[in-house]
């Protein structure tokens, strides 16, 4: 049981690490790039010269992120995204704290 809990904790940290590593706080940007690569794959297999497709999607991904960051700074004065409200922790037992 303890082994399972430990494995779950390490697995969770591993997933969080790769999520932070690859996506960070920009799900839209990552999504646009992956859609671009998917469309490139489809276009190549339809014998279309698709070398320009990933470039367009990369530029689109960069543009949407910069526009959103620019708007956020104009609105809040800070580049950082507003922090999400704290989630109730599933493993904490409120009754035990008392």
């Amino acid at each position: 049981m303890m082994f399972l809990a430990l494995s779950y904790r390490y697995l969770k940290r591993f997933v969080v690490f790769w999520k932070e590593f690859l996506i960070g706080d920009d799900w839209w940007g990552a999504g646009i790039v992956l859609v671009g690569l998917g469309l490139t794959y489809l276009a190549v297999h339809e014998n279309v010269a698709a070398w320009w497709v990933p470039i367009v999607f990369v530029i689109a991904s960069l543009a949407q992120n910069l526009v959103r960051a620019h708007r956020r700074v104009a609105r809040t004065g800070s580049e950082a995204q507003p922090a999400a409200p704290p989630k109730p922790s599933g493993d904490a037992d409120p009754g035990r704290r008392r």
Partner: protein
């Protein structure tokens, strides 16, 4: 003459890949610290030695297309994070380090992604760069040598490229460290996105016009786009509110 030509050809081909490897390792080391970066690079070289030793000439049959598609996509996603943050930060505070600042605030995005203790991000980046580029070198060595049945000569050419270009990269380290981190991230971001686009698309079956020269075109295109975005952001930057104007 033929022997010399073979060594020289493999040296030049390998040097191109080693330059890319050193660029990634030095860039990651300067921005995130050297301990984990060198550990990643060392582990990458070790893995590479095991792979080359174990597979030998069979390395030619490793599906490099799949490898390129996966690693290209990963580099692209990570490089975009660096590039967009560097572009935005430079548009807000300029290229130079803030006066009197340690520059630590420049790294806040990377600091945020760091786990306490060993920097696994630097390790993974450096490891991936070395393994991928090293595989390319191995591929070049095997491809060139297999045709001439002179594997040892190919290895000599590649080893010379590793030693000469790698040493030059290490000596250039001090100069690189003097560059503001955000400017370096801008440059490395452009490189990562360019190589990521190139390998990712190539792995999916794209045939680049101009072949490998397309990497230079990609770097130029992304550089132009980033410069344009930078100019646009600076032109439309909202003026900082004075203390009296700030909402209470």
């Amino acid at each position: 003459m033929h022997t010399l030509f073979l060594i020289l050809t493999v040296f030049l081909a390998a040097a191109v890949e080693v330059v890319e490897m050193v660029t990634i390792v030095v860039g990651v080391g300067v921005t995130r610290g050297w301990r984990a970066t060198m550990a990643g690079a060392g582990s990458g070289l070790l893995v590479l030695a095991v792979i080359i030793g174990g597979l030998g000439t069979a390395l030619q049959y490793v599906p490099i297309g799949v490898l390129r598609a996966v690693v290209g996509a990963l580099l692209l996603l990570f490089g975009l994070q660096w590039l967009r943050k560097a572009v935005f930060r430079i548009s807000q505070t300029g290229w130079t380090k803030p006066p009197g600042g340690s520059g630590a605030e420049e790294d806040e995005d990377l600091e945020g992604a760091r786990m306490p203790g060993f920097d696994w991000t630097a390790f993974a980046l450096s490891f991936k760069g070395v393994v991928l580029e090293g595989l390319e070198v191995a591929f070049v060595v095997v491809a060139f040598s297999a045709a001439t049945k002179k594997l040892a000569l190919g290895i000599i050419g590649a080893a010379a490229a590793f030693v000469i270009v790698g040493t030059a990269g290490v000596f250039a380290r001090r100069y690189v460290e003097g560059i503001p981190a955000k400017a370096l991230k801008f440059a490395v971001g452009i490189l990562l996105v360019s190589f990521g686009t190139f390998w990712g698309a190539e792995g999916l079956g794209v045939e680049w016009p101009l072949g490998d020269v397309a990497i230079l075109v990609l770097i130029s295109v992304y550089l132009l786009v980033a410069w344009a975005a930078l100019a646009l952001l600076r032109a439309t930057r909202p003026a900082p509110a004075s203390p009296q104007e700030r909402p209470r």
